[in-house]
């Protein structure tokens, strides 16, 4: 079984991972669906709710408020859980959380546990740990079930098997479900789903313990909330003798009204649904006259570095509600998929969070895997400034001398000129003229000294005419001249209606 513990993350080899991913035809086929579906669905459903942008502001403010008072909300939440007959366990590290979960399973004599999808469980490598200690974990979310069979990590935080094609899933089911007739027809996704439903139904009914994550924890009532479409999380937590909720400490929201605000942006940002099918609020164990539900209810609250993140440059990352919109809209994610990121969290949110959790020395490539196009921040339901934080990580990487020597010397070379604007202008003008002259015949270069990283994958266009700065200067001179002429002609240069006035307010070059 694949080991998901942080020390085995393949993030340090992001570049190799990415190269492999780009050459993987089946992966590239599967990834087409991400870009095609998620983006259009989110746009459509967000457009149907006029208050969507206001709700994003509200969601951001609720998360900020909660984080600023996290100690108090945690205490309030814990009090309510206990009042309802539940148990709260605090885990400083992933290992602590593993031991707590195993302890509960052992006390109940549990042999098998069903699991709803939980990214925190992935973060702490819970499945391997339980299996190594004689407890069999069964993932029940269809996508998680598939990646568990394949001994893989999820490649997307809400669509774990998004990197696989139907054919790959079929061959996996044929390999594992050997008790079923070999000549059965699995050509359609419906037959694959029906088979998984039948296989997992047995597991639901026989499991001793159910483990789920939590999308939110509500301080007002001591409630944990899961949001799913399949219903697997509910069967996981309703049928066994005990329900263990595994949640990180930042999942808190103050009240049921705050929860309502966040639910309105979660499903719309994630799958482009108005609401996910099942939003379940769980509070404590089965009551004396309840005919069903777990007899024990445990919450394991995981810190794993988050309490320290609260005081640093990456605090805003703790607003994240794990919708996946950032990766759904990320050109890098579309190109390489989630596994290339080498650990549990991928896409822009992974590029910011992973260095916080496993160290910038090992995850340094991730914040560099961005074009800074800004789409992630544009769609983030809690408005996390993801590009800015990726830049912060790059700065740290540079400051800690973790960037490769070529990058450092290249930056030093560039900085030398950038700090001397006049020299910069002369040097770039000379370079542009030289390149333009050499490349005049073909209009492009298939190879350039020091630029093989670029030219290996595409041609470099030969410069035509003057540099941007030179063109800007001459255009500016022209505008000033025109504006002088029109003012002299008796027109106001300040009016918003005049093109001259607008021209002068055009954004200038970066200082």
């Amino acid at each position: 079984m694949v080991d998901l513990a942080p020390h085995t993350a393949t993030s340090p080899w992001f570049k190799d991972n990415a190269r492999t991913a780009l050459a993987d035809a089946e992966l590239q086929n599967a990834l087409k669906f991400v870009e095609a579906n998620f983006i259009a669905r989110r746009r459509e459903v967000a457009g149907q709710l006029p208050e969507f942008e206001l709700l994003r502001d509200s969601a951001r403010d609720i998360r900020d408020h909660t984080l600023a008072h996290l100690d108090l909300y945690l205490a309030a939440y814990e009090k309510r859980v206990v009042e309802h007959g539940g148990h709260v366990h605090y885990a400083v590290t992933g290992e602590d959380a593993q031991r707590i979960v195993l302890g509960i399973c052992r006390k109940l004599g549990a042999r098998t546990v069903t699991k709803g999808k939980s990214m925190v469980a992935e973060e702490i490598g819970l499945n391997d740990f339980l299996e190594a200690h004689g407890v069999i974990p069964v993932e029940t979310d269809l996508g998680e079930y598939i990646v568990q069979l394949r001994q893989e990590m999820p490649s997307h935080i809400i669509a774990p098997a998004v990197h696989l094609t139907k054919a790959q899933i079929e061959s996996e089911f044929r390999r594992v479900h050997t008790h079923l007739p070999r000549d059965r027809n699995l050509a359609e996704p419906t037959s694959l789903l029906a088979e998984a439903r039948a296989v997992l139904r047995e597991k639901f009914l026989t499991a001793d313990v159910g483990i789920t994550g939590a999308n939110f924890l509500v301080a007002e009532t001591g409630t944990s909330v899961i949001v799913t479409n399949e219903g697997n999380g509910d069967l996981t937590q309703t049928l066994p003798r005990a329900h263990i909720v595994l949640a990180s400490i930042e999942k808190l929201v103050p009240t049921l009204e705050d929860l309502s605000q966040l639910l309105r942006v979660l499903a719309r940002s994630a799958t482009g649904q108005e609401m996910s099918v099942y939003t379940t609020l769980s509070t404590g164990p089965r009551r004396p006259d309840d005919p069903d539900g777990p007899a024990e209810y445990h919450v394991v609250l995981l810190d794993n570095g988050r309490s320290s993140m609260l005081g640093g440059a990456f605090r805003d990352m703790l607003r994240c509600i794990r919708c996946g919109a950032c990766m759904n809209h990320c050109p890098i994610y579309h190109a390489v998929g989630g596994h290339a990121y080498g650990w549990v969290y991928s896409g822009p949110m992974g590029a910011v969070l992973t260095p916080s959790l496993i160290g910038i020395d090992r995850a340094g490539h991730l914040p560099n895997a961005s074009t800074f196009c800004g789409r992630c921040e544009e769609v983030c339901p809690v408005r996390i400034p993801l590009p800015r934080m990726m830049r912060s990580w790059r700065e740290r990487e540079f400051e800690q001398h973790l960037s490769p020597a070529t990058v450092r010397s290249g930056l030093a070379f560039w900085a030398f000129f950038a700090k001397r604007p006049r020299l910069y202008g002369i040097a770039t003008a000379a370079a542009a003229r030289l390149l333009g002259f050499v490349g005049r015949r073909w209009g492009r270069f298939a190879w350039l000294p020091l630029a093989s990283g670029w030219t290996r994958h595409r041609d470099f266009p030969a410069p035509q005419g003057a540099t941007f700065q030179a063109q800007w200067k001459s255009a500016e001179r022209g505008r000033l001249a025109r504006s002088y002429v029109s003012s002299a002609g008796g027109q106001s240069g300040k009016g918003t209606g005049g093109t001259d006035g607008r021209d002068r307010r055009a954004p200038g070059p970066p200082p």
């Binding site: 991400v34 998620f38 006029p50 208050e51 206001l54 008072h69 996290l70 100690d71 108090l72 945690l74 309030a76 309510r80 009042e83 309802h84 400083v92 029940t140 979310d141 269809l142 669509a159 139907k166 996704p189 789903l193 439903r197 139904r201 639901f204 009914l205 007002e220 009532t221 001591g222 479409n229 219903g231 697997n232 509910d234 069967l235 309703t238 400490i249 103050p254 009204e257 309502s260 649904q273 108005e274 609401m275 996910s276 099918v277 099942y278 939003t279 379940t280 609020l281 769980s282 509070t283 404590g284 009551r287 309840d290 005919p291 069903d292 539900g293 609250l301 309490s307 993140m309 005081g311």
Partner: protein, 225 residues
């Protein structure tokens, strides 16, 4: 230091607070007591009849089906007709819910009624929703002997009865009703908010109904708002 103390202490160090500041404590207490509503969409803010129309439209958009019944006594016939229309055996499981218990089931002829929680061997179940939210076509069900949670997830077909007067405009109103029914800070073991039948899109993002929960969700809106 216990893990709890350690985590709280680290949070406080990061936030540069002691945890005993009166202003912070008051702010948190006030927020929980006052539970301010935030942004509530216009969409659900309609007169009762239009609100019911919106609710029905949103349920259908989520791949559920809806019918109206003038009176609870119409429920047995509606249930029998639905089961027949889908070629299902005339048997249904329900809990001790007062409304569902008061219904004249004998009027539906051979319809077999099973009582209590499901063990996974029922094809159909019927529940009475605590409330419904017109904004998104969401049903709100509460756990307990009246409406066991297993009925919401194990059967292939889930029929949910909701009184027209319990169809509210938005989530905030539904939350206020929960508070009114169970008390501030108190909740039943499970509140299931259900929007359409179970589904998965985990295989090449093809949406398929009936993943682990019911393949069909049918709502019967009873009475007038």
């Amino acid at each position: 230091m216990t893990p709890r103390q350690l985590i709280l202490a680290t949070i406080r160090r990061s936030l540069a607070v002691t945890g005993t500041e009166a202003t912070r404590g008051l702010e948190v207490a006030a927020r929980v007591i006052r539970h301010p509503p935030g942004v509530v969409p216009e969409r659900g803010q309609r007169l009762p009849a239009e609100r019911l129309d919106l609710f029905a439209r949103m349920v259908k958009a989520a791949a559920g089906t809806v019918e109206r019944a003038g009176d609870p006594t119409d429920i047995p016939a509606a249930v029998a007709a639905f089961l027949r229309a889908h070629n299902l055996p005339l048997a249904i499981r329900r809990g001790d819910d007062p409304l569902l218990s008061s219904v004249p089931w004998e009027r539906a002829g051979t319809l077999e009624i099973r009582l209590g929680a499901s063990d996974g061997n029922d094809l159909a179940a019927i529940s009475h929703a605590f409330a419904a939210v017109a904004e998104t076509g969401t049903l709100v069900l509460t756990s307990g002997p009246d409406n066991p949670t297993t009925l919401n997830f194990l059967p292939d077909v889930h029929i949910v009865v909701v009184s027209a007067s319990d169809v509210v405009s938005d989530f905030e109103t539904a939350m206020a009703r929960l508070r009114g029914r169970f008390g501030a800070g108190v909740m039943p073991r499970a509140v299931n908010m259900i929007t359409g039948p179970s589904r998965s899109a985990d295989i090449e993002q093809t949406l398929i109904l009936g993943a682990h929960g019911p393949r069909r969700l049918h709502v019967i809106v009873v009475g007038e708002p």
